[in-house]
């Protein structure tokens, strides 16, 4: 360039900055509800652009319109300056718009290769298999294409979805919360792939609630609040906290961190040499798990998907019984052979990972979800063993107020709530009964910054009141924000629990990979 005698011309500079994609005044209404209210957004070629917002802010609705899966009520899209009217996702893909969904839109019953093939024009599978292996090597996203997707880990499923997009040679790739279930190492791999991709000229629209990530990856961020654009900023020039506050529209309260050596209560949960064989061909066996948990403390159990945390949860909740009663003691009482209800009667409460279908019944209203775990409480059953609707309605209202659960109607079905709001309700359901022991899986999965902070504060407050709290999570930020002690589950074994002070994400990551050595050895 320095050899070029003429200065760079204005027109070429302009064309280089010509937007690849532009949205002007996009409005999407569902009846009287406005999900997107005059949203403007421009994406430059090769740019890594973040879309930030709380749950229910309208991010997913907006990107589905870009992808052609929804049609806007008003407003226009432009693709390289030309008006764009998408008849559907197939047309978006032809133009070069690819999308990886938050809850992966992979087909579990099909192989990884078949999943990729479905999104592409017809091509012999053998040739496609070669291309998949090539691209997966190029971008450092290893996947065995012949494996059925239901046998893949969460991280691998995401790679399948990404490969599916990459093979379409996208010019704009939309990613919805891509790292929410990845290990730090897996997320790092993903970032390197995305950086390579954008260096090749593909623009990326990145949706995440992990603000540090957005700051590390993206050069521009558009912030949505209640369907409206509230700010467009350079995330590198502002703090994560300021970003979060712009999203929520309020100051975010810090989760009160314990000093590290506050008084501990008595032992509430003791697990001794708990082993459980694998449940089915894709299960993980639990091997000699031992730990104890005192009142007032939060134990964080970190681990990536498929390392045994589902089995660990099932064993602790009583969905699968332990071989011997004494392997699990709750408040000193042998509970290993008790079912979940029996354990709840001892003062335990559980918040499973899967919200619809496990924590709540999707089609049933919230008030009925209360009966799933709390039917034994005084007041829940009226005279003659009838369910008390009055009690349920009152409790529902109380939980919704205290945990700011936003949803339409007095008693909507669980399915109609956004992920974060349902999670706030389900955590609230367990927390307001003031259990002695709360065991929660992935409390912050898919939850925005505001809701995550609210849930974390509530968990901390519960521990401060003397309850023992166990959090199983794949999200290290969450583990570090909450836990007093941290243990790692890996291949069905639980590491020793180390004080959170002095642990780093890198050490936890090494424990996850290396298995069961001490952090000194891992570090």
């Amino acid at each position: 360039m320095t050899a070029d005698p003429s200065p760079p011309s204005f027109s070429s500079a302009v064309s280089a900055r010509r937007p690849l994609f532009e949205a002007r005044g996009i409005v999407k209404r569902y009846g009287s509800f406005t999900a997107n209210d005059h949203v403007d957004l421009t994406i430059l070629p090769g740019e890594r652009h973040a879309l930030l917002g709380e749950n229910g802010a309208g991010k997913s609705t907006f990107v589905k319109m870009i992808y052609g899966a929804l049609q806007p009520t008003e407003g226009e899209f432009f693709w390289e300056g030309e008006p764009l009217r998408l008849s559907g996702p197939a047309e978006a893909r032809r133009l070069g718009i690819g999308m990886a969904f938050q809850h992966f839109s992979v087909f579990e019953g099909l192989s990884a290769l078949e999943n990729v093939a479905l999104a592409l024009p017809p091509e012999p599978l053998a040739a496609l298999d070669r291309r998949v292996r090539e691209v997966s090597g190029d971008y450092g996203l290893p996947v065995d294409p012949s494996k059925p997707v239901h046998a893949l880990s969460v991280g691998e499923r995401q790679r399948v979805e990404l490969l599916r997009c990459l093979l379409q040679n996208p010019r704009l790739l939309i990613l919805d919360e891509p790292t929410s279930v990845l290990t730090p190492q897996e997320a790092e791999t993903l970032f390197r792939a995305l950086e390579k991709l954008s260096a090749e000229g593909c623009a990326i629209l990145y949706i995440s609630h992990r603000l540090e990530e957005v700051r590390a990856l993206c050069s521009r961020a558009t912030i949505l609040r209640r369907g409206k654009v509230t700010a467009e900023v350079d995330p590198r020039a502002t703090t994560a906290r300021a970003l979060a506050e712009a999203m929520v529209g309020a100051e975010i309260l810090d989760v009160k961190r314990p000093s590290g050596d506050q008084p501990r209560g008595e032992e509430i949960l003791q697990v001794e040499r708990l082993s459980l064989p694998a449940d089915g061909p894709f299960g993980v066996a639990l091997k000699e798990i031992s730990f104890s948990l005192r009142g007032g403390e939060i134990l964080g159990v970190a681990g990536v998907a498929g390392e045994g945390q589902n089995e660990f949860m099932d064993a602790l909740t009583g969905e699968r019984r332990a071989p011997e009663a004494g392997m699990i003691r709750i408040a000193g009482v042998p509970a290993g052979r008790l079912d979940p209800t029996g354990r709840r009667r001892l003062g335990a409460a559980f918040a499973p990972e899967e919200r619809n279908g496990h924590g709540a019944v999707g089609d049933a209203p919230l008030s009925e979800a209360l009966f799933l775990t709390r039917r034994h409480e005084a007041g829940a059953m009226g005279a003659g063993g009838w369910l008390s609707r009055f009690w349920a309605a009152g409790e529902t209202r109380r939980i919704r107020e205290r945990f700011d659960v936003r949803a339409a109607g007095d008693d909507p079905p669980a399915r109609s709530l956004s992920g974060g709001n349902l999670q706030k309700f389900l955590m609230g359901r367990e927390i307001v009964r003031a259990p002695k022991l709360l065991i929660a899986a992935q409390p912050g999965w898919g939850v925005d910054a505001g809701a995550a902070a609210a849930i974390q504060s509530a968990l901390r407050a519960l521990a401060d009141q003397g309850a023992a709290v166990l959090v199983v999570s794949q999200d290290l930020d969450e583990i570090f924000a909450l836990a007093d002690r941290i243990a790692v589950i890996s291949r069905g074994r639980l590491s020793e629990a180390y004080p959170a002070v002095g642990m780093t994400p890198e050490r936890v990551g090494l424990l996850m990979g290396a298995g069961h050595s001490s952090p000194e050895a891992a570090a």
Partner: protein, 301 residues
């Protein structure tokens, strides 16, 4: 023994038609419990057309057409109006039973000539078990060919991949731009045509006559076969043959000196098939149900 094998193949044919059709519909995510009804209407329409035209082929076509029409009715209700699939399917079976009885009122006990074998008789005599291999009418070979064709379609063809995707996750399929409802509609229509053919085989060839309720629960057996076979074509075929073999045992067992009450022999095929397939289904290699089976899908806009 040769006669036994030949009879077994013939008895397996109607089940194979019906079960393969249902398998295709279910792999697309639609549970159609109306198989019995579609078979009955197929049987009676096939019989009427064959009787009045004198052509077995025309009869078989009419049977397939009638099954398809019944399936279209189901698809309209279950897919078009998003009605509960189990209820719509049960209603179809009850409706088919009544409708076939009404249509066939004047044909009960009327005889029809059995269709002749597809291949020349000299082939059947040329090799051992020739009669069991070459001695059947065209519909038997059509059933076998469709088993192979459907296996190929589901495992290898792009259309089959799309169909399985629709049955695995309708929402994701829609998001990828698959015409989920159209795929399901076509799969259900195909299932209906196959059930109609199964019924037609009963009234044209298996017992060339019409009698009310002549399917005798074969539609339900076909449904059970699909489930216990783990939605796999090969296992469905094996299950149909097993069922047919035990059905035929009752005619041959006495000759072989096996003694049991006739009611036992009448019940045996159902027991044996369900037992064998249930044992298979318990194994780890068992196929699993299409994830979206029976779930109502409405594309959002």
């Amino acid at each position: 023994m040769e006669a036994f094998v030949a009879a077994m193949i013939v008895a397996a044919t109607p089940l194979l038609f019906a079960a393969l059709g249902e398998l295709v519909a279910e792999r697309s995510g639609v549970l159609n419990l109306g198989v019995e009804g579609m078979m009955l209407v197929g049987a009676v329409c096939a019989f009427i057309v064959a009787k009045s035209t004198g052509s077995t082929a025309a009869g078989a076509l009419a049977g397939a057409g009638a099954g398809l029409a019944m399936a279209a009715l189901f698809a309209l209700v279950a897919l078009g109006f998003s009605a509960n699939q189990a209820a719509a399917g049960l209603a179809l079976t009850i409706f088919g039973g009544g409708l076939s009885g009404l249509l066939g009122r004047d044909y009960v006990g009327v005889p029809l000539p059995k269709p002749g074998p597809l291949f020349p008789a000299s082939w059947a005599e040329a090799i051992p078990y020739g009669k069991a291999i070459f001695g059947h009418d065209a519909m038997v070979y059509l059933a076998l060919a469709s088993a192979v064709g459907i296996w190929w379609f589901l495992a290898r063809a792009r259309g089959g991949l799309k169909l399985r995707a629709a049955g695995d996750n309708a929402e994701s399929g829609h998001a990828l731009g698959l015409p989920v409802l159209r795929i399901r509609f076509l799969a259900v229509l195909f299932g209906g045509a196959m059930a109609g053919l199964g019924g037609a085989y009963l009234s044209l060839a298996y017992t060339p006559m019409w009698g009310e309720g002549m399917t005798a629960g074969r539609g339900w057996i076909a449904l059970a076969l699909v489930v216990f076979a783990g939605w796999r074509v090969g296992w469905v075929a094996a299950g149909a043959v097993l069922f047919a073999a035990v059905t035929q045992l009752q005619f041959y067992a006495q000759g072989w000196g096996w003694r049991a009450p006739s009611q036992f022999w009448a019940a045996a095929p159902y027991l044996a098939t369900i037992l064998a397939l249930a044992l298979l289904a318990g194994r780890r290699t068992a196929g699993s149900a299409p994830a979206a089976l029976g779930r109502i899908f409405r594309p959002s806009s």
